[in-house]
C-alpha cells in the first residue's frame, strides 16, 4: 500500500515569509485639506498564481484595475545544502509526557496523561530561495517601503514555521541575499510605468520525514499518584494504558482481587 505523507513544510515557510512583509504601509502625499497624510496598507500575495485564480480576482474582466503598491513573492530555488548535511542515519529520541487532555473543556488538566517516545530522523537540509517583488508606481513609494523593510534584515530575520516544541526543523532564518533596485531600464521609455524592486532571500530549511511516535520506552512509570485525572484509582492502577504494550501484572502472593473501599476490583 502506498504510504502518502505530506506535511506542508515548504508551504508553512511560505506562509510565514508572507507574514514578515504584511502590514507595511505607504504614505499617500498631499490631500487638499492639508491635513495628515493617508496611510495605505500594502497587500502581500503569492506571485505565481494560476490563470484561473487571477481571472477570478480580476472579475473575469479586462476592465478590472490592477493595484499598486503590491508585494508578491515566489520560490525561485530549492537546492540541497550539502554543507549543512549531517549524519543522515541519525535518529534523535526524545521522551515526553503529556498533560491529561479534557475533551469536554477542551483544555489540559494538571495531571499526567500519555507518555511517548518520539524518534526523529535526521532532516534533509535545503536552501530555499524566495523572491519578493515590490510593485510601486513611483520612486518615493518604493523608498518608503524599502526603508521599512531593509532595517529588519541585518543580515537576517528569524522565521519559524510552527511553534511545536518537538519540531526541530521549524526554526530558520530569512536572510536578505540581494536587492535589485528597479526592473526598468533608465531612462524609462513609454512602457508600463509600474516599477518592480526585487529582494532575494534565502532560508536554510530542513525537510523532514515523519516522526515515529511510540509509547514511552522507559522501564517503568514513575508513580506520582494513584488516581488518574478522573479520580479513578482502579483504572489508574490496573487498566492504565499509559505505557501501552503488553504488561505483566504482579500482585502480592498472586492475589487476583483488590479491595478498594467497599468494592472488590478484579
Amino acid at each position: 500500500m502506498a504510504q502518502f505523507f505530506y506535511d506542508e513544510q515548504i508551504r508553512r515557510f511560505m506562509l510565514q515569509f508572507a507574514r514578515i512583509f504584511s502590514n507595511f504601509q505607504v504614505e499617500y502625499g498631499r490631500n487638499e485639506e492639508g491635513t495628515e497624510h493617508t496611510l495605505i496598507r500594502v497587500p502581500v500575495r503569492y506571485g505565481d498564481s494560476s490563470r484561473q485564480a487571477q481571472t477570478i480576482i480580476q472579475q473575469n474582466s479586462a476592465n478590472e484595475l490592477p493595484s499598486t503598491p503590491l508585494m508578491t513573492f515566489y520560490v525561485s530555488g530549492l537546492d540541497y545544502a550539502r554543507e549543512r548535511m549531517q549524519d543522515p542515519y541519525f535518529v534523535s529520541t526524545i521522551a515526553v509526557r503529556q498533560r491529561t487532555y479534557d475533551d469536554a473543556t477542551d483544555s489540559y488538566e494538571t495531571t499526567q496523561g500519555n507518555a511517548f517516545t518520539i524518534d526523529r530522523l535526521m532532516p534533509v537540509p535545503y536552501k530555499l530561495t524566495m523572491k519578493l517583488d515590490i510593485w510601486t508606481s513611483n520612486t518615493n513609494q518604493k523608498m518608503q517601503l524599502l526603508e521599512q523593510i531593509l532595517v529588519l534584515f541585518n543580515p537576517a530575520l528569524e522565521i519559524q514555521s510552527t511553534d511545536n516544541y518537538l519540531d526541530w526543523t521549524s526554526l530558520s532564518v530569512c536572510e536578505l541575499e540581494s536587492t535589485q533596485w528597479s526592473s526598468r531600464s533608465i531612462p524609462v521609455g513609454t512602457e508600463n510605468p509600474i516599477d518592480i524592486a526585487t529582494l532575494t532571500f534565502t532560508m536554510p530549511i530542513w525537510i523532514s520525514s515523519p516522526a515515529k511516535v511510540k509509547k514511552l520506552g522507559v522501564v517503568e512509570r514513575i508513580v506520582a499518584q494513584i488516581f488518574d485525572a478522573q479520580g479513578d484509582a482502579s483504572n489508574a492502577i490496573l487498566d492504565n494504558d499509559l505505557l501501552l504494550g503488553t504488561r505483566q501484572v504482579f500482585t502480592p502472593y498472586g492475589y487476583q482481587v483488590l479491595l478498594i473501599g467497599n468494592k472488590l476490583q478484579a
Binding site: Q16, I57, Q59, L65, P69, Q112, A229
Partner: protein, 462 residues
C-alpha cells in the same frame, strides 16, 4: 509669360487648411466614438507641512508644476471633476491576456487613439498629455464575474504619449490630428482622485413619477438612498409626513471605483487569509510547552511521591497545600528556543503543568512552598516559585507576538511600533519614536512628529 510655381504647401492656416480641417473634423464626428477624458490639472495643492525645497507647496493646480523636484515625479495628481467628451478613432485589435505576478494584462493592450486637433483644443483647452486619463465607453464590461457589482465596469486608460499623427497631415503639410498612446490604468497613488470617485448604482427613476425604494441619487457631491418610494421633485431633506422619517438617508461613504473595480480589496482579503493562517500556526515566537507534563521532584531531586490528585479539583495558592514536592521547579522542556506556555486570553505565562498562579505586582502573602507567583511588573513578566524561604525565578515570559502589537518583545515593536510618548515641560507629550535625522531638533515639536500628544507613557521596564 510664366506660370506660378505649383505648390500645395501652405505655411499658414489658409482657407485650404480650414476646408481640410472641417472635413476631417466631420470625419471624426461621423466615424469616431465618444472618448471621455479626465483632465490632469497638476499636482494637488495643500499640505503645508512639507518643509522641503524639493517638495514645493503650490497654491494652485497647474500642469506646469512638478511635485517632487528631486525624483521628478507627480505622485498626487489633481484631476478635473468635469469629464470632457471628444470624438476619437482607434483601431480595434485582438489581444491575449498576459499573466504576470501583478495580474492579468491584456498583451499589447496599448491603444493609439486619434483626435481632431482643433476640436481637442476647443474642447479641452490644451493638447492631451501624459497623465490624462481616458475612458473608452464602447469597452464597458456589463458582465463582470461578481454580479453584485451595480454598474458596468468602465475601461480606463492613461495617456503615455501624445504627438501629431502621421496620417493627420493634409496636402498643405499642416497637421489636423493628435494621436495619443494609452495604456491601461492601474489603481495607483497617482490616480486616487479618479479611483476614489463614487461608483454607485445608476439612478432609477420610475416613469410612474416616483423614485422606488432603495434608489440612490446624487445631490451635489453627496449620495442619498431612498427610504421608500419618493415622489419626484421631493427636496433631499424633506420628511415623509406619513412616517415622520426623512425621505432620503445620507450615504456617508459611498462605494468607490477602487472598491468595486480594483484588485486591491481582493488582494487585502487574500493577505488577511494568509496572516490568519500564519498566526494560527505560529501565534507566538518560540515553542509551546503547555501540553507537556513535568514530574514534581523532592528537594533531593527525586521524583516526588505526592502530588496533586484528581480529588484536588480546585487547587489554590492560599497555603492549604502540603509543602515541597508538589509542584515542579521548572518547565522541564526547556531545551530549545523561547519555550513556555502562554495563556492566549491573558497573555500570562502558564506555570508548569498548568498549575495555579497568582499574578500581581507583588508577591502574595502567606505563600507556602510550591506556590507560584507571576510578577507583572517585570518586563517581560517573570514567574517565581516559593520554596518555603525564597521566591525563586523559574522563567521569563519570553514568547512574544511576532506582529504589530506594541507590547511585543521584538526590536521591531520596541523601535518601530513604538507609540509611547515622553512628557516635556514645554511641549507636552512628544512622540518617543523619532527619526534620527530630526531627533530633538530645536523646532516646535522637538522632532518630526508633533508635540502635545495624548499621554501614552512607556510602562516600567520597557
Amino acid at each position: 509669360m510664366t506660370m506660378p510655381r505649383l505648390s500645395l504647401y501652405r505655411p499658414n492656416r489658409t482657407n485650404d487648411y480650414q476646408f481640410f480641417d472641417k472635413t476631417i473634423k466631420e470625419m471624426f464626428t461621423v466615424g469616431g466614438l465618444d472618448i471621455y477624458i479626465h483632465k490632469y490639472l497638476g499636482p494637488q495643492t495643500g499640505d503645508l507641512g512639507d518643509q522641503d525645497a524639493t517638495l514645493p507647496v503650490y497654491g494652485s493646480s497647474n500642469p506646469l508644476f512638478i511635485e517632487d523636484l528631486l525624483l521628478l515625479e507627480n505622485r498626487d495628481r489633481a484631476y478635473d471633476p468635469d469629464v470632457y467628451i471628444m470624438r476619437g478613432v482607434y483601431r480595434t485589435q485582438d489581444v491575449d491576456f498576459d499573466l504576470t505576478q501583478f495580474g492579468l494584462f491584456l498583451n499589447n493592450d496599448t491603444l493609439f487613439i486619434s483626435f481632431h486637433y482643433n476640436n481637442m483644443i476647443d474642447t479641452f483647452g490644451r493638447k492631451l498629455m501624459v497623465g490624462d486619463v481616458i475612458e473608452v465607453p464602447n469597452l464597458k464590461d456589463y458582465h463582470p464575474l461578481d454580479k453584485s457589482i451595480p454598474n458596468a465596469l468602465p475601461r480606463y486608460y492613461v495617456i503615455q504619449d501624445g504627438n501629431y499623427s502621421s496620417e493627420g497631415f493634409s496636402q498643405t503639410w499642416l497637421p489636423h490630428v493628435w494621436r495619443v498612446k494609452a495604456t491601461p490604468l492601474v489603481n495607483a497613488q497617482e490616480y486616487q482622485q479618479i479611483i476614489n470617485q463614487p461608483f454607485m448604482p445608476e439612478n432609477i427613476w420610475d416613469p410612474g413619477n416616483f423614485y422606488p425604494n432603495g434608489t440612490v441619487v446624487n445631490d451635489g457631491n453627496t449620495y442619498y438612498q431612498a427610504n421608500g418610494n419618493v415622489p419626484a421633485g421631493t427636496p433631499i431633506d424633506a420628511v415623509n409626513p406619513g412616517t415622520g422619517q426623512p425621505y432620503w438617508t445620507l450615504i456617508p461613504n459611498p462605494t468607490t471605483v477602487g472598491d468595486q473595480m480594483s484588485t486591491r480589496p481582493k488582494d487585502l482579503e487574500i493577505n488577511d487569509a494568509i496572516l490568519t493562517q500564519a498566526y494560527a500556526e505560529v501565534p507566538l515566537s518560540g515553542y509551546d510547552t503547555v501540553k507537556f507534563y513535568i514530574l514534581p521532584t523532592t528537594p533531593e531531586g527525586q521524583p516526588a511521591a505526592a502530588g496533586y490528585t484528581a480529588d484536588d479539583t480546585h487547587p489554590t495558592v492560599d497555603g492549604t497545600e502540603t509543602g515541597e514536592g508538589i509542584t515542579p521547579k521548572s518547565f522541564g522542556y526547556t531545551m530549545g528556543y523561547l519555550t513556555g506556555g502562554v495563556d492566549p486570553g491573558t497573555g500570562y505565562l502558564i506555570p508548569p503543568n498548568g498549575l495555579p498562579v497568582t499574578p500581581g505586582v507583588s508577591f502574595p502573602q502567606n505563600a507556602v512552598a510550591g506556590d507560584y507567583a507571576l510578577r507583572l511588573d517585570y518586563f517581560p513578566n517573570r514567574l517565581f516559585r516559593y520554596d518555603g524561604a525564597r521566591w525563586i525565578k523559574i522563567e521569563d515570559n519570553v514568547r512574544t507576538d511576532l506582529d504589530l502589537a506594541t507590547p511585543a518583545l521584538t526590536q521591531r515593536a520596541s523601535f518601530v511600533n513604538n507609540t509611547y510618548t515622553v512628557a516635556t515641560t514645554d511641549l507636552g507629550n512628544i512622540p518617543s519614536r523619532q527619526s534620527l535625522s530630526e531627533i530633538l531638533k530645536p523646532q516646535a515639536d522637538n522632532g518630526d512628529a508633533g508635540g502635545n500628544l495624548p499621554p501614552n507613557p512607556r510602562p516600567p521596564g520597557r
